[in-house]
């Protein structure tokens, strides 16, 4: 019901490196802090100290266990926020035009003053990337920190999303994925960056860099310099110190 722009000048998004994400949740709370103070309604926490605390988060880290055919199980930490899809079903489903995709940079936003809190967009999003704030009654989602990335009041180096700035492992990268020469596009090309659930045809802008292969076969054993059983320590010592 809401139109997508035909194309966007840029495709701003995140590239998330699953090889080095240690699952520390820094991006989760840094995002929560910034977006509680900034764009739109603050992110509430219901039953904050009770039996079933439930707060609004624009970014969450999920952990999955993977059992390869051989070798021990592996844990993948998987941060997930809005992927700013090119064919964003959350936008087209919006009955009021509150959800929209920006023409200049491709960021998907919610215009909270037009949002009626119907929740259709959250149903439509296959990634579960939107959360209805229980206190404000409006839909919340990742803004790519639109109030940071162009903000003249911030030093230039800080004009990145809060999650990117804070990530201790450096697992989060921000840039224009529409520009094949941008560092993020290069990173995607070098490391085989992937779309999340490409079969859905949403064409997410955000990309994930897959974990590198783990649990290599053991290296060949070292070659003894002497047969200690036969030569004793003295023979071993002679061989060792010869080269010294």
């Amino acid at each position: 019901m809401t139109e997508l722009p035909g194309s966007t000048k840029k495709k701003l998004g995140l590239v998330i490196d699953l090889d080095i994400c240690v699952g520390c949740h820094a991006c989760v709370t840094s995002c929560k802090g910034w977006n509680t103070e900034n764009y739109g309604a603050p992110l509430s926490d219901m039953d904050a100290y009770g039996a079933d605390p439930s707060g609004t988060f624009l970014n969450r880290v999920h952990s999955f266990e993977v059992q390869p055919a051989a070798g021990p199980a592996q844990t993948i930490h998987f941060p997930k926020s809005c992927l700013h899809c090119e064919d964003a079903p959350c936008v087209t489903v919006c009955p009021t035009g509150a959800s929209y995709k920006r023409q200049e940079d491709g960021i998907v936003l919610v215009n909270e003053s037009a949002c009626i809190g119907c929740g259709l967009c959250a149903w439509a999003c296959p990634y579960g990337a939107r959360e209805l704030d229980q206190a404000a009654g409006v839909m919340k989602k990742c803004t790519l920190c639109i109030d940071r990335i162009y903000n003249d009041n911030l030093p230039e180096v800080d004009r990145v999303p809060a999650c990117v700035r804070t990530c201790p492992a450096g697992a989060r990268h921000f840039g224009d994925l529409g520009d094949p020469d941008s560092p993020v596009s290069q990173l995607v090309a070098d490391r085989g960056g992937m779309d999340l659930m490409p079969e859905l045809g949403t064409k997410p802008v955000n990309k994930y860099l897959p974990p590198r292969p783990k649990d290599r076969a053991p290296a060949a054993p070292l070659t003894p310099i002497a047969d200690v059983q036969a030569t004793g320590i003295a023979g071993w010592l002679d061989r060792l110190l010869e080269k010294f």
Partner: protein, 933 residues
């Protein structure tokens, strides 16, 4: 244009002001920018200029706003008005609180200062709190290192003059292989994440050796799921392989370690000590002459293989031990839980990177012998470890084994390896010795804690009994450099070695997650004698929050949050240095408390003045220091040397200089920290680098250059072993001789953790670890963090899951030789097959931390502590044997052995404790930022 979209304000004002201070959401001590709006904290981010975190900030730090606004914050001093444990308190004035404390402590100081036991937990002001305790005159002071990671610290100091974390770091810029043995993720937090991210991004490899594959181990390229407590055996098997193949750095060993020193072979009181010349200098055999020479003579070429008059080198002793088939991979594989093939492969990988991928920096330097080197060669293999290997009863020797491994490949203080952070390196004999001589009405005879080099430094009374309540520096654990906080309540309750009057605790949740054997500790805190009085008569506690411990104290001195206080992260204590810079930092009140609370250090100064303690009273009888901030600036430990190294004197002096009244302001203006860079020629080889030694003297780390050799062979340990063999006048009790002879071996050994004794019926190892997003108990009250870690199932490996037929949603009863818990379980495939684990200290007692009693932390959360006793099972000899490392006394948390049985889903974890009446008002139901402003 047909497409219409709203106009968004993309350049809103960010904040009114940024105040830069130091985080305290864990032990990592990152720099933070606190954004202020309308006088309130609006947002916290990392400080890009800060040496520790360089702009990044973890989940805890980024949630600081929920810590400083937590409803669990204590509001005013309180005195207990109900029985201990009831939570019945009455708020009182600070004057009443301080007069009460002074009235309790004054008579103790005049007659028996040792009857005050003062122990601190997550204290970052130990140079101050220890100074206060010394002035009071009690020998009973320590911080929490004894139940944390003293094995790692002491193992490193005795071996090489420093350990991991606060003492040093991997050379992240050059390392090609980083090997992580079991770790606590806040020791340290962000630097490890930054380092792992940095090296993996450039293709370097990370190897995780840990029974649990989570966190850092989840991103490791290779994972070795070692059996808990067997790390030392694995390390010695790697050493076996490296030695056999000659893949060790003989040049490094000959020049920089005591490997070429001669071990006295003559029977008698000197046997096993190293030969020295008449000036007391270690002797080596010079390859040029074949004759003995002092180790530091210019041009000396120490011979690793020498034998002189029957005395063999340390190196020969080492080779003889570790080349033994006892350490062959196939011998140890089953016990270690890793196949011989993989152990050999790991050794080969270490050797390949250390020797085939060696690096060399074009940086000339001069060593302490006066020899100039044109380059700095390096072995780019680095290691890190913390509690995972050290919280075992064999942890000290395991930590030493790991340090010896690093030394054998020549990677310590060389490019790509492990690098010390100033003021380290600092050898064991440059540290203070323990002091425990009590004089009523006077200060202690010296600092409490230190590094004994032989039996003469033990803290014993004339009758040979322990001088300290925790029995630190006694024959039970001679090298207990951080004390044994975990034994204080148990010993005080037992009157072993003696009774105390007042227990003063700071930031230590001893009635809950910081104690082993929590239930019985609670009973000890509330136990009364025949006279109806508490066995531990008085307890004073300072905490900022409504922790479990609060209910068990008689007097509460409420502390501030970290944004409301002064602190110094001092070079006198545990600074925030990086390998390339000495650095220290402050906290300052970026907001004022909205409660009647005071920083504990300021309170101690006030109390000290009321007690007339030396150094705390001015000549006119008034308190010498207005508050802790005043102390930080004006106090001098030695002339010209104070808590902060930067901006001294006229503001330009570094390290040494008169107190500068503007110093605090200069720190604030500088972002809350000070940094002095290590000169380039001093960047590596620091223990032997003349350039570094001279710089360190200028920085006041030492008063003269103090180069030294790494101690592969530990003479202090051998001195204790000699005593156990019957040499010397200070003799251990007979029941400890055999254990001392075994545990104080001067070369690293491995022995089964004490927890393995009589554990045949308890086949499973049980561990805890801290989540990166939660600083154990502290994080629970944080409304954001508890949504991330509000539950802590017991994680089981597939083998145990299948064997017992567990299904999702099941619970289990877990039983140790000491106790039993009933808890929810979950499957975790990435585990050692005999290991189960859970997150540390998510479980909370009902009524604490301003949580609802129905909170999952109190109904589904739990502690493993209930399964762990502070004592070993009785041996029938009537003695109380601590469940601790026999060298350092470190709490052996991870020796725990259990058995498990499936039970149906439950509503409440067991044991369940009665609800405590909350000393703080009920928390608001929701946190709604707009409505709260």
């Amino acid at each position: 244009m047909s497409y219409r979209q709203p106009v968004v304000e993309t350049s809103p004002p960010v904040s009114d002001e940024i105040r830069k201070t130091t985080c305290y959401m864990c032990a990592c001590r990152c720099g933070i920018n606190v954004h202020m709006k309308n006088g309130k904290v609006a947002y916290i981010e990392g400080n890009r200029d800060h040496p520790v975190n360089k702009g990044v900030l973890c989940a805890k730090g980024s949630s600081g706003i929920m810590q400083v606004t937590a409803p669990s914050r204590l509001r005013a001093p309180m005195k207990r008005v109900g029985p201990r444990g009831s939570g019945e308190f009455q708020e009182i004035s600070w004057d009443e609180a301080l007069e009460t404390a002074a009235s309790w402590l004054k008579p103790l100081r005049a007659t028996a200062p040792e009857k005050l036991a003062f122990f601190t937990g997550r204290d970052q002001s130990q140079s101050f709190t220890s100074w206060w305790a010394q002035a009071f005159g009690t020998p009973n002071y320590a911080a929490h290192g004894g139940f944390c990671s003293v094995n790692m610290a002491a193992g490193g100091i005795y071996t090489m003059g420093g350990a991991f974390w606060e003492f040093g770091q991997p050379d992240w810029d050059h390392t090609k292989l980083f090997i992580l043995f079991g770790v606590a993720e806040d020791h340290d937090s962000n630097p490890i994440k930054m380092g792992i991210g940095k090296i993996k991004s450039r293709g370097a490899k990370v190897i995780g050796i840990n029974p649990i594959r989570s966190g850092y181990n989840a991103v490791a390229d290779d994972w070795y799921g070692v059996t808990p407590g067997a790390d030392g055996l694995l390390i010695l098997a790697i050493i076996h392989e490296l030695l056999k193949a000659g893949k060790i750095d003989t040049r490094y060993l000959a020049q920089w370690t005591n490997a070429p020193c001669l071990v006295n072979a003559e029977e008698g009181p000197e046997k096993g000590l190293l030969l020295r010349d008449p000036d007391g200098k270690l002797l080596v055999i010079d390859r040029a002459t074949g004759q003995p020479a002092p180790f530091d003579r210019k041009g000396v070429r120490p011979d690793l293989g020498a034998t002189w008059n029957g005395h063999r080198t340390v190196f020969q002793h080492l080779a003889e031990r570790y080349l033994s088939a006892d350490y062959a991979p196939e011998t140890v594989a089953a016990r270690v839980g890793i196949t011989a093939e993989r152990i050999r492969g790991l050794a080969a990988e270490i050797a390949r990177v250390a020797f085939d991928e060696a690096i060399e920096l074009a940086q000339p330097w001069t060593d302490f012998r006066g020899e100039r080197h044109e380059t700095m060669p390096g072995r780019p293999v680095s290691f890190h470890a913390m509690r995972g290997i050290s919280a075992h009863s064999n942890g000290f020797q395991t930590a030493r084994a790991l340090h010896v491994l690093q030394i054998l490949i020549g990677s310590v203080e060389t490019p790509g390896g492990f690098r010390f952070k100033p003021p380290y390196p600092k050898p064991f004999d440059a540290h203070p010795k323990p002091h425990s001589k009590v004089t009523p009405g006077a200060p202690l005879d010296g600092p409490h804690l230190g590094y004994p080099t032989g039996p003469e430094h033990l803290a014993l009374k004339p009758d040979g009994s322990p001088a300290r309540i925790d029995k630190a520096f006694s024959w039970e654990n001679p090298m207990s450099a951080h004390g044994l906080m975990h034994m204080v309540i148990s010993n005080a309750h037992a009157g072993d070695p003696y009774r105390i009057d007042t227990l003063l605790l700071y930031m230590a949740n001893m009635a809950w997650n910081s104690s082993m054997n929590t239930r019985q500790v609670i009973e000890m805190l509330t136990d009364t004698g025949a006279d109806g009085e508490y066995v531990i008569p008085r307890i004073i506690y300072s905490d900022a929050y409504s922790s479990e411990m609060v209910a068990y104290a008689d007097l509460i001195l409420p502390d501030t949050t970290y944004l409301e206080r002064h602190d110094c992260i001092s070079l006198l204590d545990r600074p925030i240095c990086e390998a390339d810079a000495a650095a220290d930092a402050i906290r300052w009140p970026v907001i004022e408390p909205d409660r009647d609370v005071r920083g504990f250090q300021s309170v101690l100064l006030d109390l000290g003045a009321r007690l007339g303690l030396p150094g705390m009273v001015a000549e006119d009888g008034q308190p010498k220091y207005k508050d802790y901030g005043d102390y930080i600036v004006r106090h001098e430990r030695r002339p010209g040397v104070g808590p902060l190294a930067g901006f001294r004197g006229n503001g330009e002096s570094v390290g040494r200089g008169a107190p500068n009244p503007d110093q605090m302001k200069r720190y604030i203006d500088n972002g809350g920290f000070f940094m002095a860079h290590v000169p380039h020629e001093a960047a590596y080889y620091k223990p032997w680098n003349a350039g570094y030694q001279d710089w360190a003297v200028g920085m006041a780390f030492y008063d003269k250059p103090s180069p030294y050799l790494f101690s592969i062979w530990s003479e202090p340990m051998r001195r204790f072993q000699l005593a156990a063999e019957g040499h010397g006048t200070r003799q251990p009790p007979d029941h400890l001789r055999a254990r001392l002879m075994m545990a104080m071996d001067p070369l690293p050994i491995w022995y089964s953790p004490f927890g393995d004794e009589d554990a045949a019926d308890y086949p499973i190892h049980a561990l805890t670890q801290r989540p990166m997003a939660m600083y154990h108990s502290w994080g629970t009250q944080n409304a954001w963090l508890r949504q991330i870690h509000g539950r802590n199932p017991l994680y089981l490996p597939g083998s145990i899951w299948k064997e017992h037929g567990f299904k999702d949603g099941d619970w289990a009863r877990v039983t140790s030789p000491h106790g039993s818990i009933t808890v929810p379980v979950a499957l975790h495939g990435g585990l050692n097959e005999n290991t189960i684990w859970t997150w540390n200290a998510i479980g909370k007692r009902k009524g604490t931390w301003a949580l609802e009693p129905e909170a999952p932390e109190a109904t589904k959360g739990f502690l493993l502590n209930h399964l762990i006793h502070e004592l070993l099972p009785p041996k029938g000899d009537g003695l109380r044997w601590a469940n601790s490392d026999p060298v350092t006394g470190q709490a052996a948390w991870f020796d725990l052995r259990v058995k498990i049985e499936r039970v149906d889903p439950q509503e409440q974890t067991l044991p369940d404790f009665p609800e405590i009446k909350s000393p703080v008002p009920k928390a608001p139901r929701n946190r709604l930022w707009g409505a709260e402003k």
